[in-house]
Chain length 373, copies 2
Amino acid sequence: MTHGAALRTLRVHLDERSYPIRIGYDTLDAAGPAIAEATQATRAAIVSVAPVAKRYAPTLERSLRKAGLRSTRLLVPDGDRTKNLRQAAKLYDALLEFGADRSTAVVALGGGVVGDLAGYVAATYLRGVPFVQVPTTLLAMTDASVGGKVGVNLKQGKNLVGAFYQPRLVWMDIATLESLPARQRRAGLAEMIKHAAIWEAGLFERFERDAEKVLALEPTLTAELLERSCAIKAEVVSRDEREAGVRTLLNFGHTLAHAIESLGAYRGLLHGEAVAVGMAFAARRSEALGHAATGSAERLAELLRSAGLPVGVPKHPRRAYLDAMRVDKKRTESRIRFVVLREIGRAEAVPLLPSEILPRRFPEPGWAAGETA
Amino acid sequence: MTHGAALRTLRVHLDERSYPIRIGYDTLDAAGPAIAEATQATRAAIVSVAPVAKRYAPTLERSLRKAGLRSTRLLVPDGDRTKNLRQAAKLYDALLEFGADRSTAVVALGGGVVGDLAGYVAATYLRGVPFVQVPTTLLAMTDASVGGKVGVNLKQGKNLVGAFYQPRLVWMDIATLESLPARQRRAGLAEMIKHAAIWEAGLFERFERDAEKVLALEPTLTAELLERSCAIKAEVVSRDEREAGVRTLLNFGHTLAHAIESLGAYRGLLHGEAVAVGMAFAARRSEALGHAATGSAERLAELLRSAGLPVGVPKHPRRAYLDAMRVDKKRTESRIRFVVLREIGRAEAVPLLPSEILPRRFPEPGWAAGETA
């Protein structure tokens, strides 16, 4: 493979704000010129967490320097609790200290938390400076890097403050995933499978065949499937940038996932794992409620299981799940737009009450965690 | 005059985000239905300062209630120092407390500070909720309500954090200006004169004739001239929403005004007054540097003086002004895009060094404050 060359380029079209996603293997040392071209910046502020920065920032910095960009490294603490207004304020101060102006690019080097936080700061500092994503987790590559959602948490809840702000460039280097624990790769794969399940049966079949190769980070194949997965999200988002309609489909599996996360059941369950559980559940419910023919649910569960992902619902009283689902949606009407799977490759949002979503016997026997997961 | 009817409606076109400015006299009690229609909101959070809220919120609230909107009143302390991240965080908390969702409108009732702060919160809460401006100062009506600039200050400087976010509706009730001190009306008039000076000689002539009537708030005439002034800003902004080119012209008078403000000379000088001084100066310099034929500067100064606005430059060492101008622009190149007045109704941005902008003898004899202001 040619060192430094991108294997794939995907263009995300969002009216006047379109941008390229460049997917490659071992390409971090070529990011500098691409960032310079996409942003026209003269400086770059790299936002990252210590372990990621230690491993990858030097190569990125060298590449930026070669492209004529002065750079600085702004480290934030690791973890979702870091994504708050206080950290954003610290980053504003650090950017001012660096003398950052509108020709300074903010470069997020890391996972979803870093991307959300750095993106929010880029969206609001001086009313917006150029933003670049260099995602280093599979989840951030397939999910957070498309859609323009940036933001921070408040103590009352996640992502309550934010913006829709598109990056100028997303630079994905698959080689950076090699240092990612296998469990986190699987969690990222869950979101890729989600895109296939709601939109494209052909891609779903590819995952049935090649999920293992993605988890092993086989470069050409991973780049191809990443591109197709991102293309689905990009298509959904371009049709519906401000999430009124079709974008809801991206919530497939997330109703239960959010409930699981807020219940604190499986403390330490990764988001992608909770989504896997939520998707398997949603597919079963789709069949049980008569929204889908039999078979899709088992096929989805089988793929998730074979990718090493959990599908069993953590045991908690039904009452607790009902409350958690209501809390999650307390700011809207009592019905939830629940995404059902019509068949593999086709989903639809249906307004349902939490009590309709959860069967009388829940968690269902035979599906609860510990029994099948 | 028909009670409650808008005298004028101006539509601001910014691609998919266009919105109406409705200008009337004694129309606060008709704002509710207009807000409901423009935002499709079911609730409204009125952001204001105590004295303004005391006077005008009850009428607005009654009108919202009649239109079927539940409302709450969120008071912030008065003054520019209030426009900060801490106040924004308090407003997020208050919005959550109110149960605000994406069908909750944030309504700014007050001057520029309230509009900037409330607008920033509206732009970022839940990644953006509907925003409505009900400006109650002439400056906010003519300036802050068009252009979509919202934001807060950091301790390092003004408006360093913010967004471009368009309101869904601007509702101007000229009667709310009756409680505004005459000095503040004059300061607002300065920005209206600015719009005329850079863009439309015919409107400038109207001000030469009718400035007094605007200051007296004669309804029909004030509404007309407000509309024309806003139309100029709207035209400039629509051509150049993200302020790369022609939008610079709106900075006419602001290079020196910012320097005056940052020097703290004339502590308590209103922004519009500083702009008046800055415009008179810029027009003189335009002639002295050969960018304009003789006469425009004196004509502009005469209009400003007759409107009771200062035109004399506060006495401070030239060195201090040079430093202040450089600090203001430290985040860009050393040349400043200084807006020169070619003639009444036509301006142009010219890149100049601070040392070129300020004459050797500065403040100029005969123009320093205390001598002519």
